[in-house]
């Protein structure tokens, strides 16, 4: 498997086609990253597309030896921050999305239950302050280690850890208040 870093160096050196395999490897995860932050499918597709465009335009800023994934997510969160400043999108739009609804229609009954569960978790996440929500998306959904999040956000590992724990605490309060199950669910 050719590493992301070699492909990105190739892009940096002018072989723009090397971006195609990077797109194939990462676009689904990035789309989901944006989807969890914005709650809107169309916006997330646009942001994913813009991200790869930014990677091309700013390819000269990629430094050899730097982990590609961290660099890419740094660009991604800047992109999302710009978007967030311009629009504040509500989570409900995600659930009213036609494509998404069509997709869920195909699911069997147990799948529908899963969707309900997803809704309350994402709704609870949406009620967190943006920075805490982003931290939980990076650590819990994208699976980044605290060291990696520290590289992406440019904050110390210790600070990231404290903030993630605080965010989890707040999410717990919101989630169990939202679902009204008070921890009886197991």
């Amino acid at each position: 498997m050719i590493s992301d870093e070699i492909l990105m160096l190739s892009v940096k050196n002018g072989t723009l086609d090397s971006l195609a395999p990077l797109f194939e490897r990462h676009h689904v995860r990035l789309f989901n990253f944006f989807l969890r932050l914005t709650g809107n499918r169309e916006t997330s597709e646009d942001l994913t597309q813009s991200l790869f465009q930014r990677i091309l335009r700013f390819r000269h800023t990629y430094k050899e030896g730097h982990p590609f994934r961290s660099w890419m997510y740094r660009v991604a969160r800047n992109l999302h921050a710009d978007h967030y400043r311009k629009n504040k999108v509500r989570a409900e739009e995600f659930y009213e999305e036609t494509d998404y609804s069509r997709q869920t229609e195909r699911l069997a009954a147990d799948e529908m239950e899963k969707k309900e569960r997803k809704r309350s978790l994402l709704e609870a996440l949406d009620r967190l302050p943006p920075e805490q929500k982003e931290l939980l998306v990076l650590s819990r959904f994208e699976g980044f280690k605290y060291e990696e999040i520290s590289q992406i956000k440019g904050i110390s590992v210790a600070a990231i850890k404290v903030r993630v724990h605080r965010a989890m605490g707040l999410l717990r309060e919101i989630y169990f208040e939202t679902t009204g199950e008070g921890g009886k669910k197991s």
Binding site: E45, A109, V164, Y175
Partner: protein, 276 residues
């Protein structure tokens, strides 16, 4: 340990990042305090909720738009550079008819598989799932789909645009059996494509089948054919990984060749040491 302290450690306990003594103290407190235990249970539920969320697939529009954007960016870049000749034959359109047939067959198969899946998962009474479709039918459909996918990839590999050829090569990433036709097509891309990234993608695909002797021999042979330093380095790495002793000859030749770039020579020397 008091409730406030125990509560502040629960997120750490959840990700197993507490030191053993501290974790033991928290557990001990949880054993005695019902309120904190309830809080702890809630954390566990929350973690399970995170794990239960599945990825959503983006629409096909995303890939299409990406490829168009890439072409535009390339043409902007090319304006500043002299154009290279394109040696790839535009045979793609000659096969448009066949492509249409393959696509139609593929949708039928996908449709069949989808219906099969629905029938297999929705139970008449709504309780336990009842299997209506025989597994062998689904497996048969999958094998046929695999074959269709291979055929489609082979025809798409001859497209003019390098990014589309990379895409075609990457279609074969999840196939389980390498047909002789696909093998030949990937080998042609590996050794003859004028774009190094298509060659790299083909190498990536073929590497998955490197346990087959014919593929192994072809990769070995390719080492003497490649002139691009990146390809030479990737192949040397692969030979070392596979512990392919027969590669010592071609690697030695690279080392002895006056035109071989220094970074490749370094890698060659290192590789020879590892293949002893």
């Amino acid at each position: 340990m008091k409730c406030q302290e125990a509560s502040s450690q629960l997120a750490g306990l959840l990700e197993n990042s507490l030191e053993t003594t501290l974790a033991d103290e928290v557990h001990q407190h949880l054993g005695q305090c019902e309120n904190c235990r309830e809080e702890w249970e809630q954390y566990k539920v929350l973690m399970a909720e995170f794990e239960a969320v599945e990825d959503v697939q983006p629409g096909p529009r995303l890939r299409e738009n990406f490829l168009s954007m890439l072409e535009i960016e390339k043409s902007v870049l090319e304006q500043a550079e002299p154009k290279k000749s394109n040696l790839v034959e535009p045979v793609f359109w000659k096969h448009a008819f066949l492509m249409g047939k393959i696509a139609a067959g593929l949708s039928l198969l996908l449709g069949g598989m989808w219906i099969g899946k629905q029938q297999a998962t929705i139970a008449p009474g709504g309780d336990a799932p009842v299997k209506i479709v025989d597994n062998t039918v689904v497996t048969g459909l999958r094998t046929e789909m695999d074959a269709m996918k291979q055929m489609m990839a082979i025809y798409m590999m001859d497209q003019r645009s390098a990014s589309k050829r990379i895409q075609a090569v990457s279609y074969t990433d999840d196939i389980s059996i390498l047909s002789p036709d696909l093998f030949e097509a990937l080998l042609r891309r590996l050794n003859q494509d004028d774009n190094v990234n298509v060659r790299l993608a083909s190498l990536n695909s073929l590497t998955r089948f490197a346990n087959q002797e014919n593929v192994r021999a072809a990769l070995l042979d390719s080492l003497s054919r490649q002139t691009n330093p990146l390809m030479q380095i990737m192949l040397i790495n692969l030979m070392v990984e596979m512990d392919e002793k027969r590669a010592r000859g071609p690697i030695q030749e690279l080392l002895d060749n006056a035109v071989t770039p220094l970074e490749v020579k370094g890698k060659a020397l290192q590789g020879l040491g590892q293949l002893l």
